[in-house]
């Protein structure tokens, strides 16, 4: 079920039963950050990763393992030092310029002065979509995240969980093939978090979008993902890739199933192996 992704970057278990081009492909990506005193820090080393279209891939690891940096490289917010990145068959830069992906951060990052609907319209407005089309599309996406009734409110009138749903609707506004999420539920309380995990799975199924999801929560990664990529810190590397065999569509009951706990245990062990190599 698992394969060390660094040694066989392509054609691993994740690529089962499909000969589609990968949604994301990283080959031998390195990232070095300059540090003080002329030193440099290797943030990512020898990263090879393929993500098949429609997959829900979680990047899981302790802080400092470079999972956010990896996501930012896919999003073309940070350039890799060496290595190639393709997103939907084009370079990461071309994909960004074509608005091929939607992005969700831990902070909702909504614009205070715009209503919820106009926040969702923002990517379409940047893309030059007409006013009427923008409005219609934004309303569709707000219905998708079940926030159609607060379209005319302002972000600061909403709870944190609702704000994050607006951020998801905004990320989906251009109907991207890919959704990149950097700990999007990290700032929310446990109840809201579990509710939004279920919502996220539903949205993922409804839209058929490929998702790359950064998290440091084992249970979240197992419940949500089709594939979990485990990373180790200093330098950030992919140490294991685990395919989650839980049936789809997943429900709340799956959180208590034996298969769920087995996977959680497997992922925990893999993570502990990482931490054993690198004492805190």
């Amino acid at each position: 079920m698992t394969a060390p992704a660094t040694t066989t970057p392509r054609g691993t278990a994740a690529m089962t039963a499909t000969d589609d081009a990968p949604a994301i492909s990283l080959t031998d990506v390195h990232k070095v950050f300059p540090a003080s005193g002329g030193q440099s820090v290797a943030a990512l080393e020898r990263i090879g990763l393929d993500v098949r279209p429609g997959a829900f891939v979680s990047l899981l690891g302790p802080s400092g393992c470079g999972k956010s940096t990896l996501l930012r490289i896919i999003a073309d917010l940070t350039a890799p030092t060496t290595g190639t990145v393709t997103v939907g068959g084009r370079s990461a830069r071309e994909a960004r310029l074509a608005r091929d992906y939607g992005l969700v951060f831990q902070q909702a990052g909504l614009l205070d002065w715009r209503t919820v609907r106009r926040n969702v319209e923002l990517p379409l407005q940047v893309g030059g979509v007409s006013r009427a089309e923008r409005k219609a599309q934004a309303e569709t996406m707000l219905d998708l995240v079940r926030l159609g009734d607060v379209a005319d409110r302002f972000p600061w009138q909403l709870s944190g969980g609702m704000q994050q749903r607006v951020a998801i609707a905004r990320a989906l506004a251009c109907r991207p093939q890919l959704l990149l999420m950097d700990e999007p539920l990290g700032a929310l309380d446990e109840m809201t978090r579990e509710y939004l995990q279920g919502e996220l799975l539903r949205i993922w199924r409804d839209t058929g979008t490929t998702v790359v999801f950064v998290t440091h929560s084992v249970s979240e990664a197992v419940f949500l993902s089709t594939d979990i990529v485990i990373m180790s810190p200093r330098p950030g590397r992919i140490t294991r890739r685990i395919e989650v065999g839980l049936p789809q569509p997943r429900t709340v009951e799956d959180r208590t199933s034996p298969a769920y706990f087995e996977t959680v245990t497997e992922v925990r062990k893999a993570l502990h192996a990482v931490m054993a190599e690198e004492p805190a």
Binding site: F105, L111, W113, L122, P123
Partner: protein
């Protein structure tokens, strides 16, 4: 909706009440100080020392006299009261200051955008802007007046230029801060959306800078009135509250309350301008969480 307007009216009423209370307290302080001076013969009680400011009617006219002076004729042989005369002069100053504020703010806004978008501008121009504000206005004013006069302009043009000269700087500084105020998450969002400089400016930086703009405008409004008054003092011709202050200071020894009345009206002119902006601000920012 009705309750919102009601609440706003209540807030306004409360604000007026507080203003009135503060004014009353200041008047009481003024008159109390005078009464103290009268009682002790201008000494600090228990000591032989003089009061820091003489409390006689020459240095500090009674408030009743200042208000009374407003109802007296402005000059011997005219029917116009001092209040009407000062109001007319203040209208001239208000117009000059308003125009100066508008021109200065527009220039300040453009400068802020230039400073934000061009590294060259921020390195090369900023020191000059700061220098422009350290040069004393009383030194600049006669120059501008002379240039304007040589070019055959009416005196209000020079006055407006001086008003704008003082008004642009607070707008530039505030708006520059505002344009740089969006958080990294917002800047990265715009970058991820492949928004160029212009769109980032229009959709993110300008709206984010709006509260900062109003903070700058409030400073600029008072500065524009000061600029207009100093300009009027230097102009030598033309009207305005600055001229009225100059005239009444000539006759200070015979009618000290006239100068106080003129200064009072000048202050009110500034306050009116700031309050007009306040209305604009609360309308523009009514949907912000940080409004007010």
């Amino acid at each position: 909706m009705g309750s919102g307007i009601g609440a706003a009216a209540l807030r306004t009423a409360r604000a007026f009440l507080w203003t009135a209370l503060v004014l009353l307290a200041l008047a009481a302080l003024w008159e109390g100080y005078k009464a103290l001076g009268d009682a002790t013969g201008g000494r600090i009680p228990g000591t032989g020392l003089d009061l820091p400011i003489a409390a006689d009617d020459q240095a500090m006219p009674h408030i009743a006299d200042i208000i009374g002076a407003l109802t007296e004729p402005a000059r011997r042989g005219t029917d116009t009261s001092l209040a009407v005369y000062l109001f007319n002069e203040a209208t001239i100053t208000f117009r000059e200051a308003l125009l100066g504020l508008a021109i200065g703010s527009a220039a300040g806004l453009l400068l802020a955008v230039g400073l934000r978008e061009s590294r060259f501008a921020s390195r090369g121009v900023m020191p000059w802007l700061i220098a422009s504000q350290t040069v004393p206005l009383v030194a600049v004013a006669p120059m501008v007046v002379i240039w304007g006069g040589k070019a055959g302009m009416p005196s209000w043009v020079a006055v407006t230029v001086l008003s704008a000269y003082l008004a642009f700087f607070p707008v530039t500084v505030s708006v520059l801060r505002g344009l740089n105020s969006p958080q990294p998450v917002h800047r990265e969002l715009m970058h991820a959306l492949a928004a160029g400089r212009v769109r980032t400016l229009l959709l993110l930086r300008f709206p984010a800078a709006l509260p900062f703009l109003f903070a700058g405008l409030r400073l600029a409004a008072t500065a524009s009135v000061v600029g207009a008054i100093v300009g009027e003092l230097s102009a030598g011709t033309g009207g305005g509250i600055g001229r009225a202050i100059l005239t009444s200071s000539y006759y200070y020894s015979s009618a000290p309350e006239n100068l106080y009345a003129a200064v009072l009206v000048a202050a009110v002119t500034g306050i009116v301008l700031v309050q007009v902006l306040r209305v604009g601000e609360s309308l523009s920012l009514r949907n912000r969480s940080t409004a007010g």
